[in-house]
Every structure is written in C-alpha cells, then in structure tokens.
C-alpha cells in the first residue's frame, strides 16, 4: 500500500525530543493514519462522513421544535472543515449528531461507509470509541489523572493493557509537543497545553473523524492561533479528518472548507481559496 510509505515521511519536527522508541511511535501513528490516509491515496478522495436528510426536533412530538432541518452533506477523508454560524443556529446539535452523542429525529449518519445504528447507548458508545475523537471547548480533562493518563482514557474502554496504553499516549503527547509534560496534572498545565492534551486524547485511538466544538473558545487569541496551527499541522501530517465549530472567521479561513449554518440549515458550503 502506498499509504504505508507515507509514514516514513512524517515530519516529527521539533516534537520528538522524548525517548520513545521509534517503532512504538510509528505503530501508534499507523493507527491514526492507516485507515484515514491510506484510503486517500490513489488519487480518489474517499467518503468519510455522510449526513443524509437529517432532521432534529426537540420537545414533545406533538409540538416539535425543529433545530436541524433536512441537513445533508459529506466530508472526505482528510478534510478539515469549519462549521460557522450564529449562536443557536444548531452547530452543536449537528456536532452531537455527527459525534453519535445524539440521535437524529429522522435521516441517517454514515461514518466510513458504516450506517450508524442509534438503537442502544451501548452500540453508539462502542462506535464513538472506534470512530470519533472529541475536542471540547472546556477541555474536559480529568483533574486527578496525569496528562498521559488523560490521553490514554479512550484506550481504557478498548481493553488495552496499561503499559501499552502508556506507550501509545506518550507517542501521541509527543505528536502534540507535550512529551515532557506526560506526568503533569491538568492543573499544572496552561490552557493551550490542556487543549493539546485533549487533542492527543482525541487522536490516540486512531478515530475516523475528530470533532472539535469551539476548541479555541476558552483560549486567548495567541494560544488559539497555536492550537489552530497544531490542528492544521496534524491534519496535514497525519491525514486526520477534522470537523470544527468556530465563531472566528480568521480561524475558519485556515480550514479547507467552510460550512455555514443558519437556523438549522446549511446556508453555504465553500472550499477555501
């Protein structure tokens, strides 16, 4: 496979100061890249995410409050999309449905060719663990755990043994430039560092799509720019598919594609220049 050769070209940049053996680093990166990036090669872009006629209503069925109306769109493997829109337009609702945290009232969600079965929380939890990486505005790191333990959390629910979890988490922390903070607790990290730990956590399991709902919303503009650059960089280097909600038009401008949402509908879907 051509994708395999790409691994050799990954630029570890200034981040590989740590003493993690290269084979571990690579094997853990493969998790993140093989499925996503390997499928992208050969010229054809591959469909990673598809929403088909998704409606979402809140409230009682007899007086439904529509929040999403007939939303359909697709995201290709390796895409970096921004979702923009005014407050209350339904961006987070959309992200929750893509992230399999919420079920659409009607319509279907297809991730990596797999039509999502929303029937039980057990099934969606398993799918989330395998397919989705989350980055939140509020970081949501567990304060009692160290950075690497936070990063390794998704692997816990895959029965990965602790030593292996540590290896993979350290490799991912190295990717986000925090190898030297592995044993720090969140309270000892800056906002930008916390979000980078959260990013490593989103990536550690090799998800199909990383979802970031206002990932820079809690950060000052300089730090926000740094985190954005890192997202951009990880998307390019590892080929991860990213869907991000932001209010910041400048940050959105750094993405490949902008999806503008208004009142529960997709208003515009434009590729960046």
């Amino acid at each position: 496979m051509k994708g395999r050769h790409d691994v050799g070209q990954i630029d570890l940049g200034g981040y590989s100061k740590s003493k993690i053996p290269v084979h571990i680093l690579l094997s853990s990166l493969r998790l993140a890249t093989d499925r996503a990036r390997g499928d992208r090669c050969g010229g054809a872009w591959r469909l990673m995410l598809k929403l088909l006629n998704v409606d979402k209503h809140y409230g009682p069925p007899e007086r439904p409050v529509p929040v999403l109306r007939n939303v359909s769109f697709t995201v290709q493997a390796g895409d970096f999309c921004a979702i923009l829109g005014p407050s209350g337009s339904g961006k987070s609702t959309l992200m929750n449905i893509i992230g399999l945290l919420d079920r659409p009232t009607t319509g279907e969600v297809v991730v990596d060719g797999e039509t999502v079965d929303f029937s039980t929380p057990e099934i969606t939890a398993g799918l989330r663990n395998r397919l989705i990486g989350f980055v939140f505005q509020a970081f949501h790191l567990l304060p009692r755990l160290t950075a690497w333990e936070n990063v390794a959390l998704p692997l816990l629910y895959r029965r990965v043994a602790r030593p292996r979890r540590r290896e993979m988490a350290l490799a991912m922390l190295d990717q986000v430039g925090l190898a030297d903070r592995a044993d720090h607790r969140p309270s000892e990290l800056s906002g930008g560092q916390k979000q980078r730990v959260a990013l490593a956590r989103a990536l550690v399991g090799g998800p199909k799509v990383v979802l970031a709902d206002e990932p820079t919303g809690s950060l000052d503009s300089v730090t926000a720019g740094e985190v954005m650059a890192l997202l951009r960089d990880l998307n390019r280097r590892l080929g991860v598919t990213i869907v991000m909600v932001t209010h910041d038009r400048d940050l959105a401008g750094l993405c490949d594609r902008r999806i503008e949402v208004l009142d529960g509908r997709i208003l515009r879907d434009t590729a960046a220049a």
């Binding site: 929380p121 398993g126 998704p154 816990l156 895959r158 956590r201 399991g205």
Partner: protein
C-alpha cells in the same frame, strides 16, 4: 461487544483516590459500615471464644455426664441406694461409670486455722470421673473405707495453711469433731456450674463411715457417665426409674442440657448484636448510597466525557459499583479490626484465650463489600443513565 474497560486494580485505585478527595464525607459513610462490621465481627469472635471456653471448662467432666440428685421430701435425709447405683454399669451397657457422693458442711480445723467447708463422703470413682489431679499424695482407695482419711481441695489447703505451717499430706485435720489424716491434696481444677460442688473447696472422705459426719452412709448425688452417643433424655428417664425409692424424688441434670441452656442465653445476646450490626450496616449502606449519589452529581462532566470517548453504560455502572464496594470494604476492614479489638478486650476482661474464627476475617469485609454493592447499585445505575450531552454541559 462492549468491554468492561477498567481493570479491577485500576478501578480500586481510582475509587481510593476519590475516597481521599472527599475524606470527610466518606468517613461519615464509613462509620456506619465500620460499626456494623465491628459489632458483627465482635459478636462472632466473642461467641467463638465463649464456646471454646465452655468446652475447655467442661472437658474435665465431659458433656456425657448426668447427675442424679435425691431431693429431700420428708424429714429423713434423701438418699440414693449406693449398691443399686454402682451396679448400673453392669445392667445397662449405655452406662459407662458411676460415682456416688454425699454432701455436708462442717467446720474444718488445722492447728489454729478454722474454716467452714463442704465435706463430701465419696469413693475413688469420683476422682476418676471428674478428672481430678493431685498436687500431693493419693486419692481415696478401698482400703480407706471406714477409716479417717481425707483428700483436700487446693483451696482447702490454702485456707487452712498458716505461715510456716502448710497443710500437707500426713497432717491431721479436725472435721466436725473427728480427726482425719490428709492423704492427698488436689491440684486446682476448674469449677463449672455443672459441678455438684466446688471441689477446690471440699474435703473428701470415704463414704463408708461417712455416716459419722452426715448421718447416712448413702449418697445423695450420683454422677453417671453415659456412652457418648446415648440419648440423654431417654437415659434420664431410665435412671429415674432404676434408682427410684420411696421417700425421695430424683432430679436429673445433664451437662449437655446445661450447655444448651447457656447457648440459648447466648443466642439471645448474639441476636441482639446481630440486630445492632444489621442496623448499623443499613445506616452505613445508606451513607454509602448518599456519598455515591453526591459523587455522581459532582462528576457529571467526567461521566459525560467518559461516555463520549466510548464508556458504555455498563462500563460506567461497573465503575461506580466498584467504587461503592471499595468504599464499603475500607469500612469493612476497619470494622474487622475494631471488632477484633473489641473481642480482644472482652477476652482480657473475662480472662479467656483470644481466638478469632478464620471465617470472620473474610466474612466481615465481604459483608461490607456486599452492602456497598447493594447500596451502590442505585447511584451506579443513575450514573450509567445520564445523557452524555447534558452531563458534559453540567456545572
């Protein structure tokens, strides 16, 4: 399909971390579990020690002994026919041995020392049956019949000894106007409620010739050793029939019945302690539930996050159940130690040997853990049913 995710060890470490983080609140919940476990452990251990003690006390007699007493009904002293009694082992194979004794109370003097003591006219069979041991000299023997020989108990020797003039074998004592020669001094022996008299404080003299002291040469009490598997109730009826004589009503006491009576008494105590233990455990369980519910409320964001990254409802439920069980087990282990300490105190207080039955070491903490699981179930279920979106938005 879904995996439990957390290894048990990690879950327990996690639970202990949480415990530390909310020390005061957890301690309160633990107190109930601790008291509950402690009282149950103490009860079981004290019961165990008491039983060992009873067995130890009755060992010199054996639980297969039956006492037959002649109760006085008229003016004449009530007696049992000694010949009839001592022929019993030959008549009934379930009767192994018989010892006869009478009982009176007389001033006993040795030199200047004088004391009011029990005097028991008896035979050599008594020593054999009750497991008496000698400090000096010998027991009564057939050659003493009709003579003035005496075997004294350890307390008798102590009471009658004067400084520089101990009561020893060969000395002469005055018993109710007759001078007896001491042929044996007993070693101290346990005195139980089943003994017809405290042999430590009794002077034994030959039953043949005993009429000089108590007016009759017939026993008022007969100790009978039954075969170990004999039915004591039936034996008691048979003995009454065999030994019945006009003018005396016979009363039969068995060690086994007395032990049963004591056990019944103890059962009441232990039921009381069990009730206290159960109520404390219940209170502790409710405390655990409370702590866990507060924990679930406080950690909604964590629950939401775990759910988002792939924890199934089952994973979350298991996590909180393990936490509740760990919390309760800590109380259980503390309760076990407290219970053993209390039992140790009781042992010192009663002069018993401390002994804990092995099973309580397991039972105490296990019971506490069970309470934790039972009362942790509702909070754990609640945690597992949180909507991840709302949970992530909490605070």
């Amino acid at each position: 399909m879904s995996s439990p995710g957390l290894s048990l060890r990690e879950a327990v470490v996690e639970a202990l971390d949480n415990l530390r983080a909310h020390r005061q609140r957890s301690l309160l919940a633990l107190l109930g579990i601790l008291i509950g476990t402690a009282s149950i452990v103490a009860m079981l251990t004290i019961g165990h020690m008491a039983q060992l003690e009873t067995l130890r006390m009755y060992r010199h007699l054996g639980v297969d002994i039956v006492q037959v007493h002649a109760a006085q009904t008229g003016l004449a002293p009530a007696t049992i026919d000694r010949g009839l009694a001592e022929a019993l082992p030959g008549r009934d194979p379930r009767i192994r041995a018989v010892a006869s004794m009478g009982l009176g109370r007389f001033p006993v003097a040795f030199g200047d020392q004088i004391s009011d003591l029990s005097v028991a006219p008896t035979t050599q069979d008594l020593a054999r049956m009750t497991g008496m041991r000698l400090a000096q000299g010998r027991f009564l023997a057939p050659i003493d019949d009709g003579g003035l020989s005496a075997v004294v108990g350890s307390e008798v020797a102590r009471k009658l000894s004067a400084p520089g003039r101990p009561l020893r074998v060969g000395e002469q004592i005055r018993v109710g106007g007759y001078v007896y020669r001491v042929i044996g001094v007993l070693a101290p022996m346990p005195f139980t409620s089943f003994d017809p008299v405290n042999f430590n404080e009794t002077v034994q003299v030959p039953i043949v010739g005993g009429q000089r002291l108590i007016g009759v040469d017939q026993p008022s009490t007969v100790l009978v050793r039954m075969a170990p598997d004999a039915d004591i109730k039936a034996a008691a009826q048979r003995l009454t029939a065999l030994l019945a004589r006009p003018g005396a009503s016979l009363q039969v006491l068995s060690a086994r019945e007395m032990i049963d009576g004591m056990n019944a008494q103890k059962a009441i105590h232990s039921r009381l302690l069990t009730a206290i233990g159960a109520i404390s455990l219940l209170v502790g369980g409710i405390g655990v539930m409370n702590v866990m519910l507060m924990g679930v409320m406080e950690r909604r964001r964590e629950i939401g996050l775990r759910s988002a990254i792939g924890a199934t409802p089952r994973d979350l439920q298991l996590m909180f159940l393990i936490e509740a069980a760990t919390l309760a087990s800590v109380g259980g282990v503390a309760g076990l130690l407290a219970g053993l300490a209390a039992a140790g105190g009781a042992a010192v207080f009663s002069g018993w040997a401390f002994a804990a039955p092995l099973y309580v070491l397991v039972l105490g903490p296990a019971m506490a853990a069970l309470v934790g699981v039972a009362f942790g179930f509702y909070p754990a279920r609640k945690a597992s049913r949180l909507d991840p979106i709302e949970a992530l938005r909490a605070e």
